[in-house]
């Protein structure tokens, strides 16, 4: 219980800070909406083309929006040495990791919750189906789990805006491919069974990288 109380305290602190500045949500949301609108104009009105390209467009948008958001995840902790302040507290490094994962996940899900209905409206696709929402949530969990670890790694480098995507995107390629394939089948009206194997890959990725990042995080921040 104490573990989760402290995780919630970190998440609440991040949420409160974000509510005051709206740095992450505002900039990432503007980026996301712009990309959706550009894709919408680029692909025209042919529904056949849209069904074909929509899953890729959706996940390209979310992947780059995610990079933008995760790039900011540890910046408030670096200002005035707050990460050192947290590390001097009598809490395990894992609490810091889980707290940052939960806050990043929260920000990403808020952005996706706004972007999906707009995507559904502009592309005239069933983006708000339970299937697409499940795929989106599960993929975002894995994406954020890895992204938070690499964000902590990149924040100490000079060119952190460059370092994060270079390190992070190759690692998340499997889950993005899984999400594109599963979303494509879901948007085409296929049953759960038709994309269960892709969903399995996404869940396995989530589990492996959540555990691995949880275990490795202490080494990343201490060294």
């Amino acid at each position: 219980m104490n573990f989760w109380r402290k995780v919630i305290a970190i998440t609440w602190k991040d949420a409160l800070s974000e509510m005051r500045t709206r740095e992450i949500i505002f900039s990432v949301l503007v980026f996301t909406l712009l990309v959706i609108v550009i894709f919408n104009f680029a692909f025209g009105t042919s529904q056949e083309v849209i069904v074909l390209v929509a899953p890729g467009s959706l996940w390209v948008t979310f992947a780059f929006a995610g990079v933008l958001s995760l790039n900011r995840a540890f910046i408030p902790e670096k200002e005035q040495g707050c990460l050192e302040g947290l590390m001097a507290c009598p809490i395990s490094r894992e609490i810091i990791y889980v707290g940052k994962v939960v806050s990043s996940l929260l920000f990403m899900l808020i952005i996706e919750a706004i972007a999906l209905p707009i995507f559904a409206f502009l592309f005239n696709l069933p983006m708000l189906s339970l299937q697409v929402i499940t795929i989106t949530v599960l993929t975002t969990v894995g994406f954020v789990a890895v992204g938070t670890l690499f964000s902590a790694l990149a924040v100490n480098t000079k060119a952190r805006e460059m370092v994060l995507p270079i390190l992070f995107l190759p690692i998340v390629v499997p889950i993005i491919i899984g999400a594109v394939e599963a979303s494509g089948l879901a948007l085409a009206g296929e049953s759960w069974a038709s994309f269960s194997s892709w969903l399995g890959i996404i869940v396995a990725f989530d589990a492996i990288f959540l555990v691995a990042s949880f275990l490795v995080f202490a080494f990343v921040v201490e060294e």
Binding site: K6, A9, L16, S17, E79, Q80, G85, A88, P90
Partner: protein, 244 residues
Amino acid sequence: MGQNITSPDWVVKVTGLTKSFGNQRALRGIDLEVRPGEFIVIFGPNGAGKSTLLNVLAGIINPSSGSILIGGRSLQDNAEEVRRQIGVVSHQTFLYGNLTAYENLEFYSRMYDVPRCEERIEEVAAIVGMTSRLHDRVSTFSRGMQQRISIARALLHKPAIMLLDEPETGLDQQAIAMLWETLHADGAEKRSIILTSHNLERGFELGERLLVLDKGKIVYEVFKKDLDLDGLKTAYQQSTRVSQ
């Protein structure tokens, strides 16, 4: 909560401490003992390893080798329990600018499991003279006011040991005077303090035992009662020159 360290002889015992960052050796075999209530000042030029030493003692970074016992417990084996006994004030404030002073103190109270945290926040805010600004955002404060809230943050859990890493950096004379007044309040007589400083005059005035660190080694150590300020200045120059 802090202030329950009972070892009679020392509260901090460091043996053979080393720390390397890649090929660069920041600490090269530090041995140090700190007695309860003792005020130690560590001087040294830039890059001597002062901040690294305090970061290792605070449990922020891990040593490469050697042992650190705090209150009889190994920092490496009981990191969370030991960190509970330590308060850190650095030239960086560890405060979130977008949160108010109260929200910052409340956040750190939760991290340190401070009981009755509302009362304690009011108490430490009064000690640092910031009660009237508690609900203002930290980003609107001057550097001196931020440092006072930083001290309040470090005092929240009543630590038995205070680690002060050049806390005067960027402060004017008035703010520096306030800093030391504050640190002498709130049960400071029972608290062991390790301060790193460039300021020989101030360090000499405050410390009981004076150390000079250079290139990751303690190159000079003396009790204040055994020399005057000029003696310290001469010893500092000689010891840092010799080790170069």
